[in-house]
């Protein structure tokens, strides 16, 4: 009777398969040892399992996604170095679009994965986090991995062969073997991290509570940022976008091409604000309610 109720509650809380079977086996053994034991209310036990396991899964997903993205990012950098000897004039328009997609996805991966790591570090040491917070961690990890994969595959290897007139065989030029090897290892790294993200998406804590936002992500700097932005995350995003435009424009000035710098700065700022508008709420960067800082552990 008790075990049946516990099994149903565990299923309701999202605990499946081997984990659920193991919990039931442990409780069965306990009841065999002490049939009158006070094991607690099945619903409460299931929620406790979901809260603690879901918290652990969400944090693990964020850490693994970031590690995979760091490795993939390094390999993308290797690929970009390999790209340097290529003749840019040989690029087709499809190559240019693919490269642009790759660069945009790369930035999304960097931001999502990085923010996931930051939030996971801030939540380290907490026994259980709210369901909304765990969802943010899983989404950041998932978006990071997806965008990372897009970064790698957006520029198909066949196109780079075509772009490089002298390329006829994999070993004929470093460009040719570096690309597939770096892409392959990067994709494998992302795939290895994917199960942790899927696990975190399937088992979430059951306890409700607020998730942090961009201000909370800033950790010890959040009070300074809140003062500058008046506590508004939207205003903070606008300030960051403007600063981004200024920094990139100044870099263009320093490089002797202010017009190009200003254009790039505006483009980067638009990309950032577009990302904020499109994915901000989904990734727990902005919230509909008033901003709240993460509670102390």
């Amino acid at each position: 009777m008790y075990l049946g109720q516990l099994e149903a509650e565990l299923a309701r809380a999202g605990i499946r398969g081997g984990r659920r079977a193991r919990i039931i086996a442990e409780f069965r053994d306990h009841l065999d040892c002490s049939p009158d034991a006070d094991l607690g209310e099945p619903g409460a036990i299931a929620v406790q399992f979901a809260d603690e396991l879901g918290t652990s899964f969400a944090r693990t997903a964020a850490f693994r996604a970031f590690l995979a993205l760091a490795l993939a990012g390094l390999l993308v950098a290797v690929r970009l170095v390999a790209l340097i000897p290529l003749d840019a004039n040989g690029f087709s328009s499809a190559d240019s679009v693919a490269l642009l997609v790759s660069l945009l996805a790369g930035q999304v991966a960097l931001v999502a994965g990085g923010l996931g790591l930051v939030r996971a570090l801030q939540l380290r040491g907490r026994g259980a986090i709210p369901r909304q917070e765990a969802a943010v961690l899983a989404r950041r990890a998932g978006v990071g991995l997806t965008a990372g994969a897009a970064t790698i595959v957006a520029f198909p290897i066949t196109q780079i062969y075509r772009a490089h007139p002298g390329a006829v065989a994999l070993v004929s030029h470093p460009t040719n073997w570096l690309w597939p090897v770096a892409s392959g290892i990067g994709l494998v790294a992302l795939l290895v991290a994917a199960p942790a993200v899927i696990r975190a998406s399937r088992l979430r804590p059951q306890t409700d509570g607020p998730a942090g936002d961009l201000l909370a992500d800033l950790g010890p700097l959040q009070h300074v940022a809140a003062r500058i932005s008046g506590g508004s995350v939207n205003r903070l995003a606008l300030i960051v976008g403007a600063m981004l435009a200024i920094v990139v424009a100044l870099a263009g000035v320093a490089a002797g091409d202010p017009y190009d710098g200003i254009l790039r700065g505006l483009l980067e700022s638009c990309i950032f604000l577009g990302f904020y508008a499109a994915l901000g709420r989904y990734l727990g960067i902005r919230r509909s309610g008033p901003a709240t800082a993460l509670a102390d552990p």
Binding site: R22, I23, A25, E26, F27, D29, H30, D32, C33, S34, A37, D38, L39, G40, E41, A44, I45, Q48, F49, D51, E52, L53, S56, G127
Partner: protein, 103 residues
């Protein structure tokens, strides 16, 4: 002593009772009761989420034992042993501080 008062200490108590020898869940509860002379009161089922969490954090390891009855047996890992040392030291300092003030 009720469950609420144990918050923050349960993990340390569990790894302390597992440190002496590997134990299954029921034996962990019994050991907690015996060593506290019956003063620890908590719903016994709450020990299992804690055991799973400690295992995921690398402080405990577990395996099935089939000696007569199939049960999950937990043992302390090297990391758990280090953590136990840290917690013991921290507790002694805390207890000494509170004692110095209260006495």
């Amino acid at each position: 002593m009720e469950a609420e008062q144990l918050k923050g200490h349960l993990d340390g108590l569990i790894i302390a009772v597992v440190a002496s020898e590997p134990k299954h869940g029921y034996a962990v509860i019994e050991s907690l009761k015996t060593r506290s002379q019956g003063r620890l009161e908590l719903p016994e089922g709450t020990i299992y989420p804690a055991l799973h969490r400690l295992e995921r954090n690398g402080l405990l390891a577990s395996e099935w034992s089939d000696t007569g009855r199939r049960r999950r047996v937990y043992r302390l890992t090297d990391k758990g042993e280090r953590e136990l040392g840290v917690r013991r030291q921290r507790w002694r300092e805390f207890a000494a501080t509170v004692e110095a003030v209260l006495a």
